[in-house]
Symmetry: C3
Subunit: 190 residues, 3 copies
């Protein structure tokens, strides 16, 4: 469909939601409409409507095949939306069994993204933000574990670029420089 | 087929065989059966049965197309095994012409792994282990060359995750901490 | 077709053209013929013959679908060339919207490369070379931006290796060591 499909990712604590929210405000002021969709929520609502799960915690109990089918259907659903869409998700998810691709091949093939954004910052700053955020329970990663995760995300983003032809942009959301991160993201989306 | 298909990789000298052997002992004690298959040996035995090669050294003399076909058939054969399987192989192989994918697309599509493990440790320790192992002739890599190889392995593991949806876990096999590496691997396999 | 198809890449300023030219001279002396094709020029000439564009600047104005089709046709055209071919292109291109895969999936599938070469050197040296080259207008990247680009190129090369089964070799073109870089490249091509 017409419009830009832009995937926005970042490790927990990097400030992804904040940057997206600020960017959407500016984009609205500029008259550039963007729908903002959380891939996880979109998929959950789809599963709920199909009567597959009662609540979000049940999602992880679905069979691998069911999960894959839901992922595909969600990607197809988002691809059908007319106009610009931000897809808020993860490059990779850190699970007890290792890193899981946020956008496996079957999602990318259905979604056909134009742009893939990695929101990053120094691991030190992420650790500080996670520590100071009482509203969410977040992994107590070490500096090295975070470094490894951000680096894995860059590598998997390269694989996404090979698969889809989308561009991969890095937006740095450094301490005290939210304005700049927002400006960079707005620049990518306009 | 039912069961977990787990690919285990690591550069020569990282102690892959040792960690796998220790983990298998513990898994047996825990009553969790795992078959342990070397991808290379499985493929060679297949080639031998088909009368394609007389000994293992001849494998590299096969045409590219024959090698690819054998890789596919080996992957299909392993995928058909019922139950849990460890597949012992390489994320990438260092050859005179550069790094070669241990699991190119056609292998991944046939194998459908659930889990991909990178056994790693500091380059310094790997150099030490290679130097002290008189039983095998191994590349005399430099620190930087090893760093480059381990880093390439992480990048290609990310591509494997995109392609298959398998998780990618890193197990550190540090000096004096084999117990820990074994425990980490057992944790991933149970 | 018979012959080696070798993709050679490197960030602007790394000295890719110089190394290729030197290597071709030596290969000729050795009696090993290689055609040398710039992927971008090959694609542009194809577009020009089809009446799609009047000059090279117009290439970027083509629709995404047209660009993709041209990429595929160029890759197919190069794959049909009998004999050894060097394909001079980029692992990834740095654009205002982020890194763009030089060899997206549809190009790799048509091109079927045997070998992928990354020509690299220290970021510092690349910065120096860009600064001292008055003949071309080149990005004034920072050290970190260059580091990020070279690192992204390695990651995407790993994805290319997974997709095609080609080997990925790194040739270092360090200051004062052009002889060595040339020798390394010739070694890969013979």
């Amino acid at each position: 469909m017409a419009g830009t499909k832009c995937i926005i990712t970042g490790v927990p604590g990097v400030g992804k939601t904040t940057v997206i929210t600020e960017a959407l405000t500016r984009l609205e002021q500029m008259g550039v409409p963007y729908a903002n969709i959380s891939f996880g929520s979109f998929m959950f609502e789809m599963a709920q409507r199909q009567g597959l799960v009662a609540n979000r915690d049940k999602m992880r109990l679905l069979s691998k095949d069911d999960q894959r089918l839901l992922q595909e259907q969600a990607a197809e659903g988002i691809a059908r939306i007319d106009g610009n869409v931000i897809i808020d998700t993860h490059a990779s998810v850190k699970t007890p069994k290792g890193y899981l691709a946020g956008l496996p091949e079957w999602v990318l093939e259905a979604l056909k993204p134009d742009l893939f954004v990695l929101i990053e910052t120094d691991e030190d700053q992420i650790l500080g933000r996670r520590f100071c955020d009482p509203s969410r329970v977040r992994d107590l990663d070490t500096f090295r574990a975070l470094q490894s995760h951000q680096s894995f995300n860059r590598a998997i983003a390269a694989a996404y670029a090979m698969k889809t032809g989308c561009t991969v942009a890095i937006v740095t959301n450094a301490d005290h420089l939210l304005e700049r991160a927002t400006g960079d993201l707005v620049g990518l989306l306009t």
